[in-house]
């Protein structure tokens, strides 16, 4: 997978616009949560090849599973533009729940990083994740309000549609790959 594809896929799966609607307002927790998520996702990518080997799945076939997850996740974002607020741990614990999990380490992000790991594209995946999570951090600069929330919801829907497209592209790739 190319860096550009991974970037689009991971940004769409992270969906900064949609996530912003339920992010805790404590920026410190968001930054820490992004770092935790980056570490975990990087670790998942690093062991991706070994995980797929253990599951007896070729990377080409696993792309199909990733495609299904991305398409479902994208459909959810398209239909439910405003996610429900997640329960939060107190203080900096919010970095762990809900920022790192479940907001940033989405099923799509995990599947994409596993796929990238299976293709030996760990560095590309980590690079793309850095950009995707940085975009999430940037959204914390947006001051919430009725108008901003409406725009964020629209952006979330758009990224949901993009995630579906990425899923379809990945499925097609899985069919074409040997």
């Amino acid at each position: 997978m190319s860096f550009a594809f991974l970037l689009v896929a991971l940004v769409a799966s992270t969906n900064p616009c949609r996530v912003r609607l339920v992010l805790p307002e404590r920026r410190q927790a968001v930054v820490l949560g992004a770092l935790i998520a980056l570490g975990v996702a990087g670790g998942v990518a690093a062991v991706g090849g070994a995980v797929l080997d253990a599951l007896d799945i070729t990377p080409e076939t696993f792309r199909l599973a990733a495609a299904v997850v991305l398409a479902l996740e994208g459909a959810r974002a398209l239909v439910l533009a405003r996610p429900a607020r997640e329960p939060e741990l107190h203080g900096l614990g919010a970095a762990l729940v809900p920022v790192a999990f479940p907001l940033l380490l989405t099923p799509g992000v995990v599947m994409l990083t596993l796929t990238a790991g299976g293709d030996d594209d760990v560095a590309l995946a980590v690079g793309a994740l850095v950009v995707a999570f940085a975009l999430v951090l940037l959204t914390t600069l947006i001051r919430r309000g009725a108008r901003a929330d409406a725009l964020l919801a629209a952006g979330g829907r758009l990224l949901g549609a993009a995630e579906i497209a990425v899923g379809v592209a990945l499925a097609v790739q899985s069919v074409h790959d040997v």
């Binding site: 070729t58 076939t61 199909l64 074409h176």
Partner: protein, 387 residues
Amino acid sequence: MIYIAVLALGALGLRVMVVPAEVCPAVTPANARGAIAEASGWLERGVRPGGLYTYGYNRKDDAVSQDYNITRHAGVMFGLYQLAEETGDEKALAAAEHGLMFVHANLLRNGGWTAFAEPGQDARLGASGLLAIALVQRRFATGDESEDDLIRGLAHFLAAQQQADGSVLGRWSRETERAVPDEYAKFGTGQALWTFALLDKLFPGEGWGQPARRLARYVATRRDDVEGYVLTFPDHWSAYALAELGPDGLGEPEIAYARELAGILGLNSRLESQSGQGGLNRVFRGEPASGAGLGTVTEGLAALWRLSVADPRLADLTDNLAARLRCTAGRAVERQIDPFEAENAPRPLLARGAWFTEDGYTQMDHQRHPLSGLLATLEVLDAESAR
């Protein structure tokens, strides 16, 4: 907690429905050779009067099929000649030569061409194409030139079926004495392409290169649309033809097509490796491929592997093609009925060396395709062990 439970259930659903394990039994030169010997044994034991071979057998009903198919007859000859050429197997050669008697009794001559067709039947592209391929293989195995005129006659029939856009029509009607318009042969097109490619090398200077190139371009760029395939048609015969044409005979459209063909054959291999004869894999992946299905995928992957080794434009596919080939070949070896399993069949000699479908049926091409596929796999296994 609910969130984690939903994720766990989702992961389980994915595992069961989308990505069950791909099971690839080990294939070695020794067990591949053993399977080849058993498959050829089934075909050789099937020699019947009149130049025929045993067509099919249902072990559940203990019934020998009374059907026959001349294209598959030619296929059996092709496989046996291939084995004779590769290994010098005299029994295989004798069994293949036996089929010539039926061939010479079923030839239709018209003008400058000859077709392989039973009396009263229309001439079909696939039967003549595959017979021409089998006879070229005979030439390689024996060096005997006595069938050269027949090879040329068959190829002239294929050329007479070719249209201006390079496509070849699938049938010639005895009634109208013309090619039937808009009717294509599923596998006949690829067989015609390989015939032209083979003849261009066997008889250089006779002009077989031009129909080969025209047909190759049609197959690469228009066939799927014209003949109504949504995905690339997994045509192992075209794979053989592309490998025969080689790097010098292939333009960029043909190389792009070779990639697509490798993709669809690879997908078939991966899906097949996820299938099982029971349990959830049976539910979500359907019946495992027949012997013919396993064999055609193996033949196609092996041909494209040879091409990828010869042509740097496809070199990035070599390792994956070899991996898929080993997997499908391993599954073919594992699913063949060995002599011990055959003892439980009503007629052990009709079961031994065969590949049966779930309903207990096997027919000549269920043995012939894996035979050719495993023969081709040996080249890959040898190349890998030499690394």
